[in-house]
Structures are given as C-alpha cells and as structure tokens.
Symmetry: C2
Subunit: 246 residues, 2 copies
C-alpha cells in the first residue's frame, strides 16, 4: 500500500493510496493517536471513491464516531483501468433496458455479480493492507457500509470474511444475494425505499429476511429509489458506534 497524497480539512485527514492497481482513499480523525475501528465504504455503480455521497458519509463517520474510513474504486470505476469489453456490453444492455422501460434488475444483478468476483478479493487485499497500519491494527472491529452496488459487493464480502463485524446494506434485489445473506450473522442495518421503481418491495424484504443475524434492523422510507433520506446516514453512524465501539 502506497500513500500518494495527503491533505487535512476540518479535522479530517484524507490519504489517497494505491495497492497494485487498486486506487483508494483513507479518511482518519486529525490528531488521532490510539487505534480506532475501521469502516469500509462501498460506493454505488457509476460512482467512485470520492463521490460526494462517500465523502459525506466518511465525514459523518470520522467526526461522529472517530473511525477510520476507507473506500476503493470498484473495477472500471474512478481512477481504475477502464471497463473490459464484457463489462461494457453489460452496461450497454442495462442502459438499453432502462431506456426501453424494461426491468433492469436482472441485468444489474448479473453485472454486479461479475464485478463482485473481482471486487471482493480486492476488498480483502485492501483490508489486509489497512490492518498493517499501526492506527488500525490486525484485531480491531471492522464495519462495512454500502448501498446499491456497494451492497452487491458487501454482502458477498461479509459472508466470507469474518473480520467484518457489523454492516449497513440496502437498495438491492434479493435473488443473487440471498444465499450469501443466509451466511451472515453479524449485526445488520438494511435500508429500502417503499416506492422503489426498480426494486420490488417483496425483493427488498426477502433480502432483509435472509440475513441470519440475530440483531438486524430494517429502515423503510417512502419515496423512490434515489430518495433515501439523508438521515439514514446519521442512523448508520449511530449503528456503527453501537457495534464497533465499546
């Protein structure tokens, strides 16, 4: 892991890093000395590690919970090498379905599943490297917070990597994730939109139901897919404070 840039703004240290061809960012409390828990942020499809939604959530987590917060660009996103030809065909198919008013769910589920085959090992390698930093360390609690494609990656990651000890997911279909969700037993907070024009209610509820966690919460809000209220990010911070700090 190589840090390539560092800046400090409003109490938050932001460090860009690379790990092989993975590009990422680590946000930390300014003047933090002792160890602090780590939260991994998974960005949505078409976005990137420093999208305002990621930077905004990182800010809430660093200032509200004292956490380290890391985000990496998904394959083909942000500062990563461009999409493969196969990726581009799936994207074209998704856009065509959207244009024609056909359900894009099956295409998004398949495409995000293909990306996850690359993204999950990348997250694990990133977590390996982050845990070598003295301010994070090998034994600390680790959270994962990702919606949309961030959920498609995070559910698969949390199902196989026991270092993840609490997770906030949401806004995804159940079909391709149900099996992985059934292997997850850590505390989960799950967000869905009651009037989501892409994801049927039954599909979101089925994914929430599939988590094997004894401690899980579902937050449903009225509104369409992109209308998730801002206060759900505050809720996620409280969730991680409850579960990652003593």
């Amino acid at each position: 892991m190589h840090f390539t840039a560092q800046s400090t703004t409003d109490g938050i240290v932001e460090r860009d890093f690379t790990l092989g061809d993975i590009t990422g960012v680590l946000w930390s409390p300014e003047g933090g000395s002792g160890r602090a828990p780590l939260v991994l942020l998974g960005h949505g499809g078409g976005n990137h590690k420093k999208h305002p939604a990621m930077a905004g959530r990182a800010r809430l987590l660093v200032l509200g919970g004292g956490f380290h917060v890391a985000c990496i660009d998904a394959p083909g996103h942000g500062d990563r090498p461009p999409f493969t030809k196969a990726d581009e065909r799936e994207i074209a198919e998704m856009l065509a379905a959207r244009e024609a008013g056909r359900p894009e769910g099956p295409i998004v589920e398949r495409f995000n599943g293909h990306l996850a085959e690359r993204a999950v090992p990348e997250w694990q390698a990133t977590l390996d490297a982050l845990q070598e930093l003295p301010e994070i360390g090998p034994d600390g609690p680790v959270g994962y917070f990702g919606l949309n494609m961030g959920t498609a990656f995070g559910v698969r990651l949390a199902a196989i990597d026991r270092r993840i000890t609490a997770a906030v997911f949401g806004l995804f279909w159940h079909g391709s994730l149900e099996e992985a969700a059934r292997r997850i037993t850590i505390p989960v907070e799950f967000a869905m939109q009651w009037d989501d024009e892409h994801i049927p209610r039954e599909s979101g509820l089925a994914l929430f139901d599939a988590f094997a966690s004894a401690d899980k919460s579902l937050h449903v809000n009225s509104g369409k897919h992109k209308e998730l209220p801002r206060f759900e990010s505050d809720s996620a911070v409280r969730f991680f404070v409850r579960h990652l700090t003593v």
Copy 2:
C-alpha cells in the same frame, strides 16, 4: 383541567391533572418560558400514564426536544374508574386465548376498538384543555406517540383530529385500523418486530402501507413482540424534533 400535584426532578416539571374523570400527567421543561410543541403519549394495554415506559419517553422528549408531554390513563386503567363488565369479559376472553395459545389478535383488536370509542373523545377533550394553557397555546404543533393500544387509539385520533401533525405508531394489527390509516397524511414513523409472536409480519406491513402519508418511515427490528429496542425511543425523539420544531 385541574392540576392536583406538582414536582420537579432533573429539569422536568411533572404536573398531575384531572379533567372530569380523566386522570393525566403533563411533563414540561423546567424554567421553560416561551411556548413549546406538545407530544401526546398513548400507553399500552394494562399499563398507565406513569408506567416507566411513559416516564422514560417523556424524559427523552422533554430533555431532548424541549417538548411538553402529556399522557392520560386509558379507560379502566391507572387511576380511572374500573373496567365495565363488558370490558372485563373481553379481557377474560383475551387471557383465555393467550393461555390456550390461540391468536389473541382478533380479541385485542375488538377490545381496543371498544376502548377507543371512549378514549378518542377523551384525548380530544384533553387536547382542548391543554391548548388553553399559555405555554402550549391553540396553534402549536402536536405530536402523538403510542405503541400497541396506544396505536389503536392514536391512529383513530389522528385520522379525525387535524391538530395532530406528526405521529409515531407501531406494534398493532392492520385489520381494524386500515381504514383510519388511509385517512392519515401527516408524517408517520412506524415500528414493528420481525419475529412478533402475536402480530404477523404481513399485518404490520399492511398497516404501514395503509398510511396515506407522503413522508413515512418503517423501523423493523429482529426480536419478539416485547423486544423493541430502546433506541427506537431515541429515534422517535429525533422524528418529533424534525417535524414539530422549525
């Protein structure tokens, strides 16, 4: 409305009152001078106006939101005249069903509906009297927060009394309340338990779905009927701060 007792503890003024044969309590911020919004608390079946759950929620609302908080004993509860013979027959029937492991939902729904015929006008008379107090006033925002029987009363109250401008409900069946819920358009936060042994998931979801509110949130938590997490009371305070204060 006659105030019959007053005490002050930890920044909260507690005033007992009577209004005809209604017995109630009003909690207010100590040293509060200007007007503040009012939250009505509806207690659960078998409880009373000063049950620890009510006093605890009042404390969070007064100290966290600066609200006035009022709770009245339901018919037959707390310091009220005893249940009627008809009430007692319904309670006996409910207890017999519980004892025999039969669903108590239909009996609770019917019994709480009968109590609501008395309780809703009592709430309206109480609200009339509270709004004559200078520290509350006739035009201020009014919230309602009640679970279980508190929801059976509150949904019916909010459906007909436009003074209620935001409400937190939860833990009740949809059948007897669906029609009233469809007339409610104010912001609503609704709580249900995913593993409720009395209320089927589909029934809780159907009640949430029935609210005509453009702004509504559902909070589902794992666990049985009585295992609603304490942090949902904090969530209710934040909800009322968002909707009752400018």
